[in-house]
């Protein structure tokens, strides 16, 4: 006669790690760039170049500040896998309505005629998937949130004829991760699967250093070539797992559960974030149009696994495979001055997703993305205002019955992004 053990496995009690998408990279660092579909590493002619191609700030020969924000909203739906014994027949499952704000702020100061100093604040990664309850996937993830903010002092230098520019800078990146899920067990009194605990893992704001370099070359009057590289950064997190028992209404069952829940405790984990490589070309061969094409590579293959170490009960530590793939995205954008004061911009992008079907989960169900953007720019005297509307459609994505957490279905996601920024040239 064995002692009474509930089937709450240790792994079940813990949040799995972060898994967002192309993951969870953001490129919403400036309204003009977003309006051009993110194809901006060759144009790079406003202070957000610190993010897209730092060499671009060498072109800016006036002191300039710019700040803004992107508001991201999601619409999504989960459908159960008809061949899955748990999720079959499930229709619906939505994110809670909320708006992510992605901030950015930049200042550039030219020195002499060749050098420009700059400093930028931006968010290269981030995402939140917060599911509306009751959500049948809450035992995998009910809320997952990763936030980053980077501070980058930058310097760029251009040749006196302006045909070649190079730049670079160190990047100080802070990040925070929050992961929430419920834990369940079969209540032997009722034969029903009930929520018995909530696991809330919240990291501190931890940091790591990276760096960024770029080059911009203008072979002819009409053509520009740009390349930039932002180094991969792995942030090691300290945090705390707060495990809160959820009463089920049955005192005996609750008492047994209480003896088997691990205590709230400090945890450590780490999130590898990939590099960005921009390869870009733009042309003004068509009068009054600037057209740019960028290919952007993220080496998401760094994201092999999530390892969460529990410090009080190390036996409960766990590793979860992710095995993401490197991705390319392709971006095409145009800027067209309509009057002396007004520009209109158009852009489109195709962004391959890095996830294998097994990694598609309520934490993040990424799909190949197709985006279309439209924006306007207004500049008068020292003032610059840019505004962009950007819609992003994720191709329907299925876990194909292979999900690592044994939670299978099809996800549909659409995102809407509005970016606005304000600049001032001294």
């Amino acid at each position: 006669m064995r002692p009474f053990r509930l089937l709450i496995t240790v792994a079940m009690l813990l949040v799995t790690g972060a898994a967002f998408g192309s993951g969870f990279a953001l490129f919403e660092a400036g309204a003009k760039a977003v309006a051009m579909g993110g194809a901006f590493a060759a144009t790079a002619d406003d202070p957000s170049a610190i993010f897209y191609n730092v060499a671009g700030i060498a072109q800016l020969r006036r002191t300039e500040v710019m700040f803004g924000s992107t508001a991201i909203t999601f619409q999504n739906q989960f459908k159960g896998d008809p061949n899955d014994l748990f999720t079959a027949g499930t229709q619906g499952g939505l994110y809670r309505a909320h708006t992510f704000m992605v901030p950015s702020a930049y200042a550039v100061v030219p020195i002499g005629s060749n050098l420009t100093f700059g400093v930028g604040v931006f968010a290269p990664f981030g995402l939140r998937t917060n599911w509306r309850q009751p959500w049948i996937g809450r035992f995998v993830s009910s809320d997952a949130n990763i936030r980053t903010v980077s501070l980058e002092p930058a310097i760029a230098w251009q040749t006196s004829d302006g045909r070649l520019a190079i730049g670079g800078g160190p990047e100080y990146r802070r990040a925070k991760v929050i992961l929430v899920r419920n834990n369940g067990a079969i209540n032997p009194f009722t034969g029903r699967f009930v929520d018995v605990a909530n696991s809330y893992l919240s990291s501190d704001w931890d940091h790591a250093w990276g760096w960024n370099v770029g080059v911009l070359f203008k072979p002819t009057a009409n053509w520009r070539l740009g390349a930039s590289y932002r180094a991969p950064v792995t942030v090691d997190f300290n945090g705390r797992a707060t495990i809160t028992q959820i009463p089920t209404g049955n005192a005996q069952f609750d008492a047994v559960v209480a003896t088997q829940l691990p205590p709230s405790q400090p945890v450590t984990t780490s999130v590898p974030m990939p590099s960005f490589l921009y390869l870009a070309a733009s042309t003004t061969a068509i009068t009054n149009w600037n057209i740019e094409f960028d290919a952007v590579r993220n080496d998401w293959s760094r994201f092999k696994e999530i390892k969460v170490d529990l410090l009080t009960t190390p036996a409960a530590s766990f590793t979860r495979p992710q095995n993401w793939k490197d991705t390319w995205s392709y971006r095409l954008g145009a800027n067209h001055p309509v009057t002396d004061d007004w520009d209109i911009r158009l852009g489109t992008l195709y962004d391959k997703n890095p996830q294998s079907p097994a990694a598609v989960s309520p934490l993040l169900a990424d799909g190949d993305r197709i985006g279309v953007s439209f924006g306007v720019g207004y500049h008068r005297g020292p003032w610059i205002v840019d505004a962009t509307e950007f819609v992003l459609h994720f191709k329907e994505r299925s876990s194909q019955g292979q999900n690592y957490d044994n939670f299978n279905g099809t996800y549909q996601t659409d995102a809407n992004l509005i970016t606005v920024n304000l600049g001032y040239r001294f």
Partner: protein, 456 residues
């Protein structure tokens, strides 16, 4: 262009054609089920309407959209009072039958039930019992109010002119021996083969256009908590760990190993769940421990467990072999008639080592496993739902139909207050399994002490 069109056509033909040339079609206009206590939805030693909606035929009917699927419903606490978990804090846990008396609810249905499953029925019973027999066995007692003298399971299925027939029978031909602790009561292979083929002949002749599905039988005797819960070695009630003998090994219990040979149980022996109450009073504990506390407090130390309390490895092997032979019969009989076979054995094999369905952990553990109910061998609502899903998958594969799987999300309680429902329990000694419960478990279906009361 033409070639592409031809290819497309070929593709369509291949995709549309079912992989299995099954007889009839998967139309559920009139759906009937033939079976035993699993088919009836017996759970925790009881047939009652809290669980009958989860009998595997009822789950299939619900998923297939059958409108008027009738079962012989019994009010709570059922025929065979439902075993209730009373105390899991104490060791060992207490399980007692709920008080009260169940009553049939739709005994006067003016037509045969769609679910004709008779608890306790063997393959032979489904073509012979009509409900007119006197209640000398579990199956005969249940037949009185499931079949009501209107004919056999097979006859009553056919008289409804079924469009689809689902059959799972044969469990009692094998598991009866498991529960009795002896292979002696296994149905002989020849008799099984004759009955099974006769049953299918009658069904295919009587309903030539009907779709059909049958299922095989689990052979993993270790998978039943009825057998896996009580270890064959002496446990120290204080530490809950095996008592270690002078040779550094756990001390095997003593039992009648067959034919009156008394000896220590060989490794790999299984002790039946109801024997736990006997062990608690000293049975099976070697006489060498008679003077050693705490065993010196027990009155029956030194007396062996009965042959029927244990299954030795040799007995297990005989049972397993017979089940394998039954499955060969089922496979061949079904194949000859183009009837698909649901892999029930496969389901039990997956549950045995423990598995997850979504976030839900399931195993063959007693009480906590989530798959087997409190009698140790009938299934839970979740278990029967997975059982039904095994049939649905088989039907869809064979017929190209799209009956939706019954998902386990329906068992998420979402934290609505869940209590043991304020039930009053019969007074009784707190064995791990009460004497009454144990008695009920001796048959593959609950004993029908009150059958005659409820039947007319």
């Amino acid at each position: 262009m033409t070639r592409i069109r031809t290819l497309m056509l070929l593709l369509i033909v291949f995709v549309a054609a079912p992989l299995f040339a099954a007889r009839g079609s998967a139309k559920f206009t009139t759906f009937v089920a033939i079976g035993d206590s699993y088919g009836a939805g017996v759970e925790s030693g009881s047939l009652n309407l809290n669980h009958q909606p989860f009998s595997w035929p009822a789950v299939i009917a619900r998923q297939a959209g059958v409108v008027d699927f009738q079962q012989p419903l019994v009010s709570f606490p059922g025929v065979g009072n439902e075993l209730q978990l009373v105390d899991i804090i104490k060791f060992p846990p207490t399980i007692l039958p709920a008080a009260g008396m169940g009553q049939p609810i739709n005994l006067n249905l003016p037509r045969p039930y769609n679910n004709l499953s008779v608890p306790g029925a063997t393959v032979g019973d489904v073509i012979t019992l009509t409900g007119k027999e006197s209640a000398t066995s579990t199956a005969r007692a249940f037949a009185q109010f499931v079949l009501r003298g209107l004919g056999t399971e097979v006859d009553q299925a056919l008289v409804q002119k079924p469009t689809f027939i689902a059959v799972w029978i044969g469990g009692n031909d094998a598991l009866g021996a498991v529960l009795a602790g002896t292979p002696a009561v296994l149905t002989p292979l020849d008799a099984f083969k004759t009955s099974y083929n006769s049953m299918l002949d009658k069904l295919t002749a009587g309903a030539p256009g009907a779709g059909m599905v049958v299922g095989n039988i689990p052979n993993n005797v270790l998978a039943l908590p009825y057998l896996s819960t009580v270890p064959p070695v002496l446990i120290d009630p204080a530490t809950r760990r095996p008592v270690i003998g002078p040779n550094g090994q756990p001390i095997s219990l003593v039992a009648d190993l067959g034919g009156g040979t008394i000896g220590q149980l060989p490794a790999g022996s299984l002790v039946l769940l109801p024997a736990s109450a006997k062990i608690a009073s000293g049975y099976g504990i070697p006489s060498t421990l008679a003077m050693i506390p705490p065993f010196n407090q027990l009155p029956n130390v030194g007396k062996p467990l009965a042959d029927s309390d244990v299954l030795t490895p040799a007995e297990q092997a005989v049972i397993k072999q017979r089940v394998d032979d039954f499955n060969t019969v089922i496979q061949q009989a079904a194949q000859q008639r183009d009837i698909p076979v649901a892999d029930v054995k496969g389901l039990f094999d997956r549950v045995a080592p423990g598995m997850f369905v979504g976030p839900i952990p399931l195993s063959a553990s007693f009480i906590t496993g989530g798959f087997f109910s409190l009698d140790g061998f009938h299934l839970t609502d979740i278990g029967y739902t997975l059982f039904a899903d095994e049939f649905i998958k088989t039907i869809n594969n064979a017929y190209g139909s799209n009956v939706p799987l019954a998902p386990l999300t329906q068992f998420l309680a979402n934290n609505i207050a869940t209590t043991s429902s304020g039930l009053v329990f019969l007074p009784g000694m707190p064995y791990e399994v009460s004497a009454e419960a144990a008695e009920q478990m001796l048959m593959f279906a609950p004993r029908l002490r009150r059958a005659r009361v409820v039947v007319h």
